[in-house]
C-alpha cells in the first residue's frame, strides 16, 4: 500500500525557527551577584566562573563518562604485494660496489682449484659461473657475499683435496668414474655449505652434471603439494612441484652439458614416447612445463645420465655421460617424520617421499654397478643451525665414523643407540651399508669440517683487509687472537670478527 504522505512536500518545508531564542546579551546587573559598589561592577566585568559540566546541575541526556578523543583513522601503508617480502628475504646480493676490488685475486678454474700454492688464498668465482651457481641455489641469503666486491671463497685444505678428487674422477687415471660419497658435518659456521658451493663450482668447471637440493627441509615441511605415487604403491608419495623445481634448477645450471646429450634409452613410463635425437635439455623441459610429468621425467633423466651404453636403436647419437655431483643441504630433516599426513592422518616418514627416497638410495651401495655408473660425488651436508633433535641420526653418523675408523660393528666400541631410546630403524639403516660390490664405488664417509688453520685464517683476514673492511694491521698476533676468538678458526665466526666495525679509542 502506498502511503498518502507526500515526501517531496516535506522537504520543501521551511526550516523551523527556534521557539525559545536565547537573548543576545544578558543584562549586566543580572550577572552581578551583589551590586553594593555598582560603579566598580560596571567598570570591570565580573570574572566569569569556569563552567564545569557538573557544576551547573546534572545534565540529562548527556554522557557523563570521560570522553575519549577519537583517533582519526590514519592511512595505513598498504602491505607489500604478495611474495615481495619473501623475495626480499631470499634476495641474494653478490656484489658491493663500495668494497674495494682485491687486486691480483685469481679466479676459480681447473688449474687454480688444485694449486697448492694458493692454499689459504681467496679465489674469486668466475662471473660466467655465477648464474649457474645461482640456479642451483648455491648461495644462501645469510652468507656474507654482499659485503665484497665479488664473491670469492677460501682455498682450504679440504678444498684442495676435493679439487684433486674431481681431477681424479674426471681424469683418465685409475680413479676414473669413481663414486665418492660423503656426509659433511661440522660445527655451526664451519663452512659446510660453502664447501658444497666449491664442489659445485668445480663440477661446473669440469662439465659435470649437478643435481642440487639446496634445502632438504623444504621437502618435508608440507609446503608443497604431494600425492600417492600410483595405485600400486599408495604408501609412496610424489611431490610434483618440488620435482619440477629440481628439474628447472638442473636444466638452467647444466644447460651447456644437457643440450649436447641426446636420449639413448626407452622410457615407457612417459606417456608420450620420446623421439630419437631429443636432447636431454628438451626432455627436462617437458617435466618443467608439465609438473604432472615431472617425476617420470626426472626418472628418465636420471636413467639417461646414468646410462653407460645406448639401448638398441639409439646408437647413433650416444655420447658418454659426464660424472654427476649430487648435493643435499640439511640432511637431518630427511631423517624423521615429515609434516605431511597420509589418509589416516598419520605422519608420513620422509623416507616415503619418492624424491627423498631416491636421493637417500644413492648412499646405499649398488648391487653390481655403482650407484652413479659414470662416476661422481655425493655431498650430503648436515646443518648445525637448523638442526632437528634426532638422536638416532647422530648415532648413525657415529656408526659411520666408527666404520670409517675401522671399528668392528660387532665390537663393544661400536656406537649403539641408547637402550629404550626407541631408535628409528629406517634411519639406522643408512649407517648399515654393505661393502660396495664394485671397486669403483667408495663407502659412505663422514667428513667433519673444523676450523681453518692459522695460515688459512690469515689469508681470509687479509682478504677482508684488502677489500677495505678490516682496518687493522694483519699481524701474526692479530690473526691468532681472531683465530682463538673464532672458536679455533671457525670461518663463519672469523667473518663476523672481520666485518665488525672497530673504532679506535681516541
Amino acid at each position: 500500500m502506498v502511503s498518502s504522505f507526500c515526501w517531496s512536500c516535506l522537504t520543501r518545508l521551511p526550516t523551523p525557527r527556534p521557539l525559545l531564542s536565547a537573548p543576545a546579551t544578558i543584562p549586566r546587573a543580572a550577572s552581578a551577584a551583589a551590586s553594593f559598589h555598582t560603579s566598580t561592577a560596571r567598570a570591570f566585568p565580573m570574572p566569569t566562573k569556569k563552567s564545569r559540566s557538573l557544576d551547573s546541575g546534572p545534565k540529562y541526556r548527556q554522557a557523563k563518562s570521560a570522553r575519549m578523543k577519537k583517533k582519526k583513522p590514519t592511512d595505513k601503508p598498504r602491505p607489500p604485494p604478495i611474495g615481495e617480502r619473501k623475495a626480499l628475504r631470499k634476495r641474494i646480493v653478490l656484489s658491493n660496489p663500495n668494497a674495494l676490488e682485491v687486486e691480483g685475486m685469481q679466479d676459480f678454474d681447473a688449474d687454480t682449484m688444485v694449486d697448492s700454492h694458493l692454499h689459504g688464498d681467496v679465489l674469486g668465482l668466475p662471473v660466467t659461473m655465477l648464474d649457474q651457481l645461482r640456479a642451483v641455489q648455491a648461495f644462501k641469503p645469510k652468507q656474507g657475499w654482499s659485503i665484497f666486491r665479488r664473491p670469492g671463497t677460501v682455498v682450504r685444505r679440504e678444498t684442495l683435496e676435493m679439487g684433486r678428487l674431481f681431477d681424479r674422477i674426471s681424469g683418465d687415471g685409475a680413479d676414473k668414474g669413481k663414486v665418492v660419497k660423503k656426509i659433511v658435518t661440522g660445527p655451526k659456521g664451519s663452512g659446510k655449505t660453502v664447501h658444497m658451493l666449491q664442489a659445485m663450482a668445480m663440477a661446473f668447471t669440469k662439465n659435470w652434471v649437478v643435481f642440487s637440493v639446496p634445502d632438504a627441509q623444504e621437502l618435508t615441511l608440507a609446503h608443497t603439494g604431494y600425492a600417492p605415487l600410483s595405485d600400486e604403491q599408495p604408501d609412496l608419495y610424489v611431490q610434483k612441484d618440488s620435482t619440477a623445481a629440481l628439474l628447472s634448477r638442473t636444466a638452467i645450471a647444466n644447460q651447456a652439458v644437457l643440450k649436447d646429450l641426446r636420449v639413448s634409452q626407452n622410457h615407457p613410463a612417459l606417456k608420450t614416447p620420446v623421439k630419437e635425437g631429443t636432447t636431454l635439455e628438451d626432455l627436462t623441459k617437458m617435466g618443467i612445463r608439465d609438473p604432472a610429468l615431472a617425476w617420470p621425467v626426472f626418472e628418465a633423466l636420471w636413467t639417461e645420465l646414468s646410462a653407460t651404453s645406448p639401448a638398441a636403436g639409439f646408437e647413433k647419437s650416444f655420447k658418454p655421460r659426464p660424472p654427476m655431483l649430487v648435493t643435499v643441504d640439511g640432511l637431518a630433516h630427511w631423517m624423521k617424520n615429515s609434516e605431511y599426513l597420509n589418509m589416516e592422518s598419520k605422519p608420513i616418514h620422509a623416507h616415503d617421499l619418492v624424491f627423498v627416497r631416491h636421493f637417500l638410495s644413492l648412499l646405499k651401495s649398488g648391487s653390481q654397478n655403482p650407484t652413479l655408473p659414470n662416476g661422481g660425488l655425493l655431498l650430503y651436508s648436515t646443518s648445525a643451525s637448523n638442526k632437528p633433535s634426532l638422536p638416532t641420526f647422530e648415532v648413525a653418523l657415529e656408526q659411520l665414523e666408527a666404520r670409517q675408523a675401522g671399528v668392528n660393528p660387532s665390537s663393544a666400541e661400536f656406537p649403539q643407540p641408547k637402550a629404550y631410546s626407541n631408535p628409528d630403524p629406517r634411519v639406522l639403516e643408512i649407517a648399515n651399508v654393505s661393502k660396495p660390490a664394485s671397486a669403483k664405488e667408495g663407502p659412505v664417509e663422514v667428513q667433519t669440517l673444523g676450523g681453518l688453520s692459522r695460515e688459512e685464517a690469515r689469508g681470509f683476514l687479509e682478504y677482508f683487509a684488502r677489500s677495505g673492511l678490516l682496518r687493522e694491521r694483519i699481524s701474526d698476533e692479530m690473526v691468532s687472537e681472531k683465530w682463538t676468538l673464532a672458536g679455533n678458526g671457525v670461518i663463519g665466526e672469523l667473518e663476523k670478527l672481520g666485518k665488525r666495525l672497530r673504532v679506535a679509542a681516541q
Partner: protein, 313 residues
C-alpha cells in the same frame, strides 16, 4: 725483732708479769726465753736509764713498713688507675705508651714489611681484661701495638716483644703459608675464579691458543663476541694468546658471569706459569676478585631497594 728495742723489752716484761698472774700452758715459755737470751744482760743498762728518767718525752721511732706484718688501716691499691672504670685496660695503655716513649728513637720498618700479627679481637680482649672496653679506645690501643710492631725486628727490645705477645691471639693464624701453586708434571697449571654466581676452574698448558670451555670451543660456549673476549682477556692482555691452551670448566650463573669467571681462573693459572706477569694481570683486572653479588630482596620491598608506590590511603 721487736723485743730487742727498749719498748719491746718493756712489753716483754709486762707479758711476763701477766703470765705470772694468770698461769697457762704456754706461760713458762717467755720466761725461759728471756732467761736464755744472752743479750738481755747487755740491755740491762738501757733498762736502767729508762727507769732513771721516766718523765722525759721522746718521739716514737719511725715505723718500718718493711716489717709491718699486719693489715694496715688504709689499703693502698697497687695500680693508680684502680679507681677508674677500666683499670686493667688503662694500665695496658699506660704500659704501651711507656714502652713507646722508651723505644721511639729505634728505627722502624714500613707497615707492609712489619711481621704480620693477629691481635686479640675486641671481644677476646674484653674477656681477657674482664672490663668493658670501648671500640674506639681499643682501636687506639691497636694503633699503639702496630706502632710498636713496626720497630725494626733486628733491634726490637725483648721487653717489647714480650709485651706484644700478650696481645696476640692464641695460635698464630698467619703462621700457615700455603705452598705456592706449581705447574704439575704434565705442565698444567690450575686456577680458580669466581664472578657473580659462576665459578670456573681453568687448566692452562703451553700450546697455541686453543680454548675449550666445558668441552666446547669458545665460539660454541659463548655466542657473544664480547664474552669470548672477556674469557680470553687474561691471555690477550698479556699477549700470551698464542702460547697457551686453556681447558676450563665453569658452572653456575649466566653467560657474562661465566666468561668473567673464566678470565679470573685463567689469570691465576697463568700466574703459576709466569709469576712475573702479576702486575700486568693486575692492571688488566684479572687478579682482583669482584666480590659483588646480587643484593637480597627485602620484605616490604618489591626488589632489593625498590619500594611500592606511595599511596595516600
Amino acid at each position: 725483732m721487736a723485743w730487742q728495742s727498749p719498748n719491746g723489752v718493756l712489753q716483754a716484761m709486762q707479758s711476763v708479769r701477766r703470765s705470772l698472774l694468770r698461769p697457762s700452758k704456754t706461760s713458762t715459755y717467755p720466761i725461759t726465753r728471756t732467761a736464755a737470751v744472752p743479750s738481755l744482760s747487755q740491755q740491762q743498762r738501757t733498762y736502767a736509764t729508762e727507769v732513771q728518767d721516766a718523765t722525759e718525752v721522746r718521739a716514737a721511732p719511725e715505723i718500718d713498713f718493711s716489717t709491718f706484718h699486719s693489715q694496715p688501716t688504709r689499703i693502698i691499691p697497687r695500680s693508680r688507675s684502680y679507681f677508674s672504670g677500666s683499670p686493667k685496660f688503662i694500665d695496658n695503655i699506660l704500659g704501651l705508651e711507656r714502652l713507646l716513649a722508651k723505644t721511639s728513637a729505634l728505627p722502624t720498618v714500613p707497615a707492609s714489611e712489619a711481621p704480620r700479627k693477629a691481635w686479640l679481637k675486641l671481644a677476646q680482649f674484653r674477656d681477657y681484661v674482664g672490663e668493658p672496653v670501648a671500640t674506639k679506645k681499643y682501636k687506639n690501643m691497636l694503633k699503639l701495638l702496630q706502632r710498636l710492631n713496626r720497630i725494626d725486628p733486628e733491634v726490637i727490645p725483648a721487653e717489647v716483644t714480650t709485651m706484644l705477645t700478650e696481645f696476640l691471639r692464641p695460635g698464630n693464624p698467619y703462621s700457615f703459608q700455603p705452598a705456592p701453586p706449581t705447574v704439575d708434571e704434565m705442565g698444567r697449571a690450575r686456577g680458580r675464579g669466581k664472578r657473580k654466581e659462576s665459578s670456573a676452574v681453568a687448566t692452562v698448558v703451553e700450546g697455541e691458543g686453543e680454548v675449550m670451555v666445558n668441552g666446547k670451543t669458545l665460539a660454541e660456549a659463548f655466542p657473544r663476541i664480547h664474552d669470548r673476549e672477556s674469557a680470553s682477556w687474561a691471555l690477550r692482555s698479556s699477549s700470551r694468546l698464542d702460547k697457551y691452551n686453556v681447558w676450563a670448566t665453569v658452572r653456575g650463573g649466566g653467560t657474562t658471569g661465566q666468561a668473567e669467571a673464566v678470565a679470573l681462573a685463567v689469570g691465576r693459572a697463568l700466574m703459576v706459569h709466569e709469576p712475573g706477569l702479576k702486575p700486568i694481570l693486575r692492571k688488566a683486572g684479572v687478579i682482583t676478585v669482584d666480590a659483588r653479588r646480587v643484593e637480597r630482596k627485602k620484605p616490604g620491598h618489591l626488589k632489593a631497594r625498590k619500594m611500592p608506590t606511595w599511596v595516600k590511603r
